[in-house]
Symmetry: C2
Subunit: 113 residues, 2 copies
């Protein structure tokens, strides 16, 4: 998985444990695609200082993942749900008259959790 | 949900964020059912001190839940998977000849995640 995608996935799970300033900088860089210089301006800090703060935040998120493993669990869950979806798709083809719509709605619900 | 069960559920999700001492005390009390006095002895602290430390640990776990909501998400996921299981059980009865064993194995996998 590419670094940017992995970082935003970590942020999805552990962002709630960061300070407001850490969140703001992380979002500015990873979600809103601002430059390091642009991010530093309102705080009156250099691009190097922003880069250091972002690196520290990324290390913190990685530390949370090492302790709780939520991203790894999420990946395993997604893989299982996908496999289930595929099997049910096959079953549906051979038994099209069942009430599959509710089943598929259920799966969508699970995927969103 | 009763307090003891809820505390152990919080611990399942956030125990990885506690210190070794916090984990040891929490497990002694909630999982191994030791008394406050018994827990305090090896640390040379009173039952009141153990009680205070346990309360602080519980508050910390509750704070993590307020920030990340993993227990709430887990409950929602369990409810969705149960509903799915029920629907598939009904479908299976009306279409017993499909390959349901793999589907059920998949669901068990999801429940364990």
């Amino acid at each position: 998985m590419d670094e940017r995608l992995y970082s935003t996935l970590l942020y999805d799970f552990y962002g709630g444990l960061l300070t407001d300033k850490q969140k703001e900088m992380f979002e500015s860089y990873y979600l809103n695609d601002l430059s390091l210089r642009e991010i530093g301006e309102p705080f009156g800090i250099t691009r190097q200082a922003v880069s250091d703060l972002l690196k520290r935040t990324k290390n913190l998120l990685a530390e949370y993942e090492a302790r709780l493993g939520l991203v790894a669990r999420h990946k395993a869950l997604s893989a299982s749900v996908e496999a289930l979806e595929e099997r049910l798709g096959t079953l549906r083809k051979s038994h099209p008259d069942g009430n599959w719509d509710e089943v598929l709605r259920n799966i969508e619900e699970i995927k969103e959790l």
